[in-house]
């Protein structure tokens, strides 16, 4: 027997759509100077965020975002049933150590840069399934911690090709609840891991684009909708090259979404900031969604959004051993109510 809340092969729908009752975003200096600077709740003017190390700075970003989201909803830590969070660092230390500071039952997630959307999808399932009334979700990334772990020491001054993206220093958090006022999550489309054989860690947009395109096409098939249903379809961090590739792949599948398609990695920085292909990292889709996009939903500029959190699922070790980079895309439908 098919599951009662599942549409097609990959999409779930929510009977009582969980409400995003509050969101918060905290970012570093470069993101604050970008075109979306005013939409963030807090901007640190230093990448250390008052801490001794960049890893601690990333925890500071996530903790501040989580606390701000709770404060905006007038909630205490013990009002939350579960916290779902993740980040890019080994053993997801940013999320683990943030959960250490908050006394909330915690489920750690790793979906690389798709983690914010993975956490929203799972949080919504917990709520609509009757397992939780309120869930705190979030994700973070930091340019300097990600460079250290995934690429080269920054002191080496390795040249960045034009396809390279800039890891966002920032964290986003949201409180999902069974009832309340705010935008609602109506559907989630869980992505498959797809690897088309792209192996260049300096071109992750191209590695993730096939997975994003697959999830978008699958979402349309599962729901019977077309792109006209949505005011905006956006991906997490494909960057300018990955976005073009995803558009082309969708055209081949018969979906032309180019008129209402954008990418958080393209929105967050301006061309003058010299980040090459755009922003990336868990923090990219997290802060753009929790700041700018939710703000526009609440302002009535958008009514129906389809967001695809995109992740590149490699590790430094897999890259060194010559493995290609598998990608994933998780879709979440957010509608104004």
């Amino acid at each position: 027997m098919a599951a009662s809340k599942k549409n097609g092969s990959q999409t779930v729908w929510f009977e009582n759509p969980p409400v995003i009752i509050s969101t918060a975003s905290v970012v570093g200096p470069m993101e604050g100077e970008g075109p979306l600077g005013k939409t963030f709740d807090k901007v640190f003017n230093d990448t250390y965020c008052g801490e001794e190390t960049w890893e601690k700075a990333e925890q500071r970003l996530m903790l501040d975002a989580m606390k701000k989201a709770l404060q905006k909803a007038n909630l205490q830590e013990n009002d939350i049933d579960f916290m779902l969070a993740g980040d890019l660092l080994n053993q997801i230390i940013s999320a683990n150590f943030t959960a250490r500071a908050l006394s909330i039952p915690f489920i750690g997630l790793y979906g690389a840069c798709s983690t914010m959307y993975e956490s929203m999808a799972l949080g919504s399932m917990l709520i609509d399934g009757g397992f939780a009334e309120r869930v705190l979700v979030g994700a973070s990334s930091h340019y300097s911690t990600a460079e250290r772990q995934f690429r080269f020491p920054t002191e080496l001054g390795v040249q960045r090709p034009m396809t390279a993206q800039w890891t966002v220093t920032g964290a986003g958090a949201a409180v999902l609840a069974g009832r309340g006022s705010g935008p609602v999550i109506t559907h989630a489309t869980i992505g498959k891991v797809i690897d088309m054989g792209q192996g260049d860690p300096q071109d992750m947009g191209a590695a993730m684009a096939p997975a994003a395109a697959d999830t978008i096409a699958r979402h349309f098939q599962d729901t019977g909708r077309t792109c006209d249903y949505y005011d905006l379809i956006f991906t997490g961090d494909l960057g300018s090259y990955g976005k073009k590739l995803a558009e082309q792949l969708l055209k081949q599948k018969g979906y032309d979404i180019s008129e209402r398609f954008t990418d958080c990695g393209i929105l967050i920085y301006s061309g003058a900031q010299d980040v090459h292909a755009g922003g990336s990292g868990c923090g990219c889709s997290a802060v753009v969604t929790c700041g700018y996009l939710i703000e526009r939903l609440k302002a009535g500029r958008y009514k129906r959004l389809l967001g695809i959190g995109t992740g590149a699922l490699m590790s430094p070790c897999s890259v060194q051993q010559g493995e290609t980079i598998p990608g994933i895309g998780h879709g979440v439908v957010i509608e104004a109510r």
Binding site: T53, S144, E147, P153, E155, V158, Q159, G199, Q202, D203
Partner: protein, 118 residues
């Protein structure tokens, strides 16, 4: 005139390195350029072709990584002349000792002055 040749030769060596990075697969990283340059410098030096370049361009030929390979090769050759076959193992590093020690000392000083955390 030595400044002109230093600019031309040093610049040309760097252009070769840049082209190697830009025109090859992403799998050929800056670390591969480093190793290739040092090895190439040592081979060219052993063939006796690097010393004329140093004469012509001075620091333009000794400062790039190929110059380090040249130093290692010449050190090994001189080591063999002075100490026999064992000198091939000790001579290279002995001739590069000043450069290696300078890297350690100045690296240490920089680490004291800045946050070496990247």
């Amino acid at each position: 005139m030595v400044f002109f040749w230093a600019f031309v030769v040093g610049g040309a060596l760097c252009v070769i390195g840049q082209l190697l990075m830009d025109l090859t697969s992403y799998k050929f990283t800056s670390a591969h350029v480093l190793v290739t340059f040092v090895t190439a410098g040592a081979v060219i030096s052993a063939l006796g072709l690097y010393q004329p370049l140093v004469k012509l361009a001075g620091a333009g030929a000794t400062v790039p990584l190929t110059g380090f390979g040249h130093l290692l090769a010449q050190g090994a050759i001189n080591g063999v002349k002075e100490n026999g076959i064992l000198g091939a193992f000790s001579g290279g590093v002995a001739s590069a000792a000043a450069g290696i020690t300078a890297a350690v000392v100045f690296g240490y000083l920089a680490a004291l002055a800045f946050k070496p955390r990247g």
